[in-house]
């Protein structure tokens, strides 16, 4: 980063700090009841307390586990199905319209069906998370496979490459940018559905933490949990971006 960029970044941090200070002021002056709005000092204290005395770490791990299992299952299934559908024109013609119909559907509506089938269990949560997370990945994979440069298929035919080689060396790398973008979207979906399922089924996780804090009107704990959820979303997204940059180094080479 050059000097100007660093200065702007510092200024931006100062602005954020200023807003936090304003928040603190509002809390001190009791502009809003402390039952609803704890000051940043109390939220921070609750965060620290949660990790040292309370079970916040365990809850965080719980949510991360739910996200991870669901997202990984969704990635494997989504890429496999997407590759299958996307690489066949016939399949695309028959299946893609139905998928387009299902795209705007609120995926959380599957939760009651899952509860009916699997009860208020961890299995239900993993099913829901995987089901929700599969859509962005599968749709992105289909799009990536459908958009492979046709000239490359001709090159492959000219070289007499096997079908497996064509999928592995031409179609998959070509679709990779789309697939990775879909996987990043799925992370967000996985996080949201984890929280919802934890709230509904009382599973061990941040969703349960914030719900119990709300019920007991422990607003500082509640805010600590919300901050932690935001941090989780942010950090997983950053991690995914780093992976993308690594795998797609050839794209940055062009710039």
């Amino acid at each position: 980063m050059n000097r100007a960029a660093i200065l702007w970044r510092v200024a931006s941090i100062l602005v954020a700090a200023g807003l936090i200070a304003a928040w603190q002021l509002a809390a001190n002056l009791r502009l809003v009841s402390p039952v609803f709005l704890p000051g940043p000092d109390r939220a921070w204290a609750a965060l620290m307390r949660g990790f040292s005395n309370g079970d916040l770490a365990g809850k965080l791990i719980g949510t991360l586990e739910h996200m991870a299992y669901g997202w990984l299952a969704a990635s494997i299934a989504g890429i496999a199905l997407g590759a299958l559908i996307g690489s066949s024109k016939m399949m695309r013609a028959y299946v893609a319209p139905s998928l387009e119909f299902l795209r705007p559907l609120p995926v959380s509506a599957i939760i009651p069906v899952a509860i009916a089938m699997l009860g208020l269990t961890r299995g239900m949560a993993l099913f829901v998370i995987a089901f929700g997370a599969i859509w962005p990945i599968m749709l992105a994979t289909i799009h990536g496979f459908a958009a492979v440069e046709p000239r490359l298929y001709e090159v492959a035919r000219s070289l007499q490459m096997s079908r497996a080689a064509i999928i592995g060396k031409i179609a998959l790398p070509s679709a990779l940018p789309d697939i990775l973008a879909g996987m990043r979207l799925s992370l967000t979906v996985a996080l949201i559905l984890s929280v919802v399922c934890e709230i509904l089924a009382g599973l061990d996780g941040l969703g349960q933490w914030v719900l119990l804090s709300a019920r007991a009107f422990r607003s500082a704990d509640l805010f600590a949990g919300v901050i932690l959820l935001g941090a989780t979303g942010y950090l997983t997204s950053i991690a995914m971006s780093l992976v993308e940059q690594r795998l797609l180094a050839w794209q940055t080479a062009a710039r």
Partner: protein
């Protein structure tokens, strides 16, 4: 060709028929599955006794109100950040810190502040809608032909005039695409809040049906939610085509 038109429907129809046959043959008794004929019957009944229409009204009311508030805020901030680079850079850290918070995480806060009901749901929907509108409006404003902005300065337009006469009309097609996206998000978030905790609307309806072990009614709600989501999307695409013509559709995702 009629076959081409019918093709998208072949797979769903075949699956539905197969499911119906299987359910009938096995005399299906289940808490989670019901034959399509029973689902449609339950849907018809719930429409007739107005339970679904009322629930739809509630969900859509919360979703649209939240959408209106959230997109208004997102639009204003997006225009402001798009026009003023310094402002955008100053607010960068704040925006990047708040954006990743999943809207659902605010549910308990809204719950203790506002209790159950419309207001809590509207607040959460609004929060969710701010971000796509903000990000996409900002990039729409930034990608306005620089020539137009230079011209507005040459004409010595005031800031409000510039925004009203140049910025908004030029960015409008992409802003509408952002709005379409946010509308989809609004519906999804509204239904999710209702499923999680709020006892109103379609989300509550489907949860109650499940708790009453009425698989047919539950799946009827599921089908109806899908129909509403689809219809909303189709309406907005039609509106977009009407207002901006086919050229604008090239920019956004269908």
């Amino acid at each position: 060709m009629t076959l081409d038109r019918a093709r998208p429907l072949l797979l769903p129809l075949a699956l539905t028929l197969a499911f119906e046959l299987w359910a009938r043959l096995t005399h299906l008794q289940s808490d989670s599955l019901a034959p399509p004929s029973a689902i449609l019957a339950a849907l018809a009944a719930a429409l007739a006794d107005l339970s679904i229409p009322i629930a739809t009204r509630d969900t859509l009311f919360a979703a649209f109100t939240g959408l209106a508030i959230g997109s208004a805020i997102g639009l204003s901030l997006g225009i402001a950040f798009g026009i003023s680079r310094p402002l955008d850079r100053l607010m960068e850290v704040t925006v990047e810190a708040i954006r990743p918070i999943p809207s659902i995480a605010l549910l308990p806060i809204a719950l203790i502040a506002l209790g159950f009901g419309y207001r809590m749901e509207i607040v959460i929907v609004a929060f969710a809608c701010v971000w796509p509108m903000l990000i996409l409006t900002r990039s729409a404003v930034r990608s306005i032909e620089p020539r137009l902005m230079e011209m507005s300065r040459a004409l010595r337009l005031s800031a409000p005039q510039r925004i009203a006469k140049i910025v908004i009309p030029a960015a409008l097609p992409r802003i509408f695409v952002a709005f379409r996206l946010s509308a989809g998000i609004a519906l999804i978030v509204a239904v999710t809040v209702e499923i999680a905790i709020n006892p109103i609307g379609l989300g509550a309806g489907i949860m109650l049906a499940q708790q009453a072990l009425r698989a047919d009614l539950m799946l009827a709600y599921l089908l109806w939610i899908g129909v509403i989501g689809y219809a909303l999307n189709i309406l907005l695409i039609a509106a977009q085509r009407r207002l901006f013509g086919r050229a604008a559709l090239a920019g956004g995702n269908p």
